[in-house]
């Protein structure tokens, strides 16, 4: 069990809103992986919940870190 971390930037002009958040959740659920997301140095949230993603109140241009737990 290891974790892969990857940095991403939010490009959506209105930030991470309901629709983009639900699209991410859809992909996460399809992948079957456990993925967490958040700002470096803050608490991460599970990416299987659009509401949790929205609660990060992420604005355009912010950098986020994505962590994928994997056994591969």
């Amino acid at each position: 069990m290891s974790a892969i971390a990857h940095e991403v930037e939010v490009l959506d002009p209105i930030g991470l809103h309901a629709r983009p958040a639900s699209q991410i959740v859809k992909l996460v659920k399809e992948s079957g992986l456990t993925i967490t997301i958040g700002r470096e140095g803050e608490e991460f949230v599970k990416a299987n919940s659009a509401l949790m993603l929205m609660s990060l109140k992420i604005k355009t241009g912010e950098k986020l870190t994505l962590q994928i737990e994997t056994e591969d």
Binding site: G15, A18, A21, S22, N48, S49, L51, S55, K57
Partner: protein, 542 residues
């Protein structure tokens, strides 16, 4: 109780056409149950919650299919919120604490609403969440949430009053509308008038109607006839335009560029009698720059029908808040800081609006008049007039909505160039009857003698002061009433685009002397029914 064939139920008519249809009663939605601890097991409540969520989800699917296109994506996004895993986990925590399924879900939604709250970007989503929460709770309680209206057939909807959300769901099968409460300026009346759906509002006797009854909705006769057919419908007075021009100018009310273009393309309106500017600001989160305002105003002024354009400065209050003005909540918004009163805290904003209008006026070369809403004293009228004249070269006026300024029109001589009467708000303040209260609709009937006599005094004061007096409220949309207004000495009327032609025809069918005779007969009446009957009777003898 059933109603005998031919029984007449009186109300206030909206529209000029009649309709026959089958009664479809819309019951007011039962209140959602209080949040309580459950007597059932956590497992039972969890299963109930899962079922309710999947029922609401199916319902959203159906709405999405019906809406089609990009709206379908919105329903898809709503489903993600509804079925959110973390939300369900929080709700499960509440179930473990012993709450019922509805309470557990409602509280979970509140938890997230609190986390997301305070960020204007998420305001709409929080509203969506709360709406989903109500749907889930209603499903659990077995309460019908949405209006389910037939798609085919000919139905007359009967209900207390209808909200904007209800009227948005009216299908093609809705041929007529009856409300037990709500007046001629209610949301239902305004929507029915603009969509040409015959309606009778404030019709308390309609409470006795039952599903399946056949009724005639006869707005011209201000009545509903049980079992009646079209042959019983009261004929609207057919005004035949005899003159090229109406006795007083008929202008158009607009709020958007589309309204301005429509009024020009579809009507013979002589300019604009009321340009409501707040629509440019109500959806803005930050104050639009002067450049942006000039661009919007220039486009609208250029597109407006030929003639003067009367622009009302912002008419917002805590019930109609402008996000960037940060208006505090008020107990009594219609009696609070609204309209011109905003100058106390937002002088710069009103000055910017006037500057933008001046730049747009110069850029388009149009004749612009500006007026301020919610003026109560001559001093306020003077302060606004001085401010406006220091900024631009337009004619300057004020709205007459408060009884206090209605008593002081003569004293506005030399202060303003014109006044415009907003009869909806004037009625509300004159009769101390909240426009939003559906039980008070009958007091807001524009045939109320108290209103008509006040209008006569305003017109008289304007004549003595040498200032023109327009009327821009819903009342002027009633062609017979427009004739009375001209007879009282009102010098122009302004109506929504859809009513311009019919009001123009009425005012082109007779001369000013005839209007005065009719107005005098109406002034003798002491009840709204008698006032209207006097006008219609006199008109039919022309």
């Amino acid at each position: 109780m059933s109603v005998a064939q031919g029984t007449v139920l009186s109300g206030l008519g909206v529209g000029l056409n009649s309709a026959v249809g089958e009664v479809h009663i819309v019951k007011p939605q039962a209140p959602l149950p209080e949040w309580t601890k459950s007597s059932k097991s956590v497992d039972e409540e969890r299963a109930a919650l899962k079922t309710a969520i999947s029922n609401v989800s199916e319902n959203l699917d159906a709405l999405g299919v019906r809406a089609g296109g990009t709206s379908a994506e919105i329903f898809e996004a709503l489903k993600f919120l509804l079925e959110d895993e973390e939300l369900f986990e929080v709700a499960e925590g509440n179930l473990d604490d012993g709450w019922t399924a509805g309470a557990a879900y409602g509280m979970a939604v509140n938890t997230f609403a609190e986390i997301l709250g305070g960020d204007p970007d998420f305001d709409e989503r929080v509203k969506d969440l709360q709406d989903l929460s109500r749907r889930v709770q209603a499903d659990l309680a077995g309460i019908e949430m949405a209006l389910t209206l037939p798609e085919i057939g000919r139905y007359v909807l009967v209900g207390d009053d209808f909200s904007p959300a209800d009227t948005a769901q009216f299908t093609k099968a809705v041929v007529g509308v009856i409300t037990l409460k709500g007046g001629p300026t209610s949301h239902t009346a305004i929507i029915c008038r603009s969509r040409s759906i015959p309606a009778v509002v404030s019709c308390g006797a309609a409470a006795d109607l039952e599903n399946g009854d056949t009724v005639l909705v006869d707005p011209v006769g201000d009545r509903v006839v049980f079992g009646g057919d079209e042959t019983l419908a009261t004929k609207a007075i057919e005004f035949v335009a005899l003159n090229e021009e109406p006795v007083i100018p008929v202008r158009a009310n607009i709020g958007t560029l589309a309204d301005a273009e429509g009024a020009t393309a579809e009507t013979k309106a002589e300019g604009v009698g009321l340009f409501r500017t707040e629509l440019l600001y109500l959806s803005a989160n930050t104050a639009p720059s002067i450049d942006d305002q000039v661009a919007s105003y220039s486009a609208i002024l250029a597109a407006a029908p030929a003639g003067p354009i009367v622009v009302r400065t912002i008419d917002a209050g805590s019930d109609k808040p402008v996000p960037f003005l940060n208006m505090p909540h008020e107990e009594n918004p219609s009696l609070g800081v609204r309209g011109y009163r905003l100058i106390q805290d937002h002088r710069e904003f009103i000055e910017d609006q006037l500057k933008s209008l001046e730049l747009a006026r110069v850029a388009t070369g149009r004749e612009v008049w500006v007026m301020a809403p919610m003026i109560a004293t001559v001093g306020e009228a003077k302060a606004f007039a001085d401010l406006a004249r220091s900024i631009g070269g337009y004619k300057v006026g004020v709205m007459v909505e408060t009884p206090s300024i209605a008593a002081m029109i003569e004293q506005l001589e030399g202060v303003v160039d014109f006044v415009s009467v907003g009869t909806n708000d004037l009625s509300q303040y004159l009769f101390a009857a909240d426009r939003m209260n559906p039980s008070l609709g009958a007091l807001l009937n524009h045939w109320q003698p108290g209103l008509i006599r006040t209008l006569a005094r305003i017109a008289d004061g304007g004549k003595k002061a040498g200032i023109s007096v327009g009327v821009c409220g819903e009342s002027a949309s009633d062609p017979a009433f427009a004739v009375v207004l001209a007879g009282l000495g009102i010098t122009s009327v302004s109506v929504s685009k859809s009513q311009v032609t019919v009001v123009r025809n009425a005012l082109s069918s007779l001369d000013l002397g005839a209007c005065k005779e009719i107005a005098n007969k109406v002034l003798a009446a002491t009840s709204p029914e008698a006032a209207k009957a006097a006008a219609l009777d006199a008109l039919s003898q022309l």
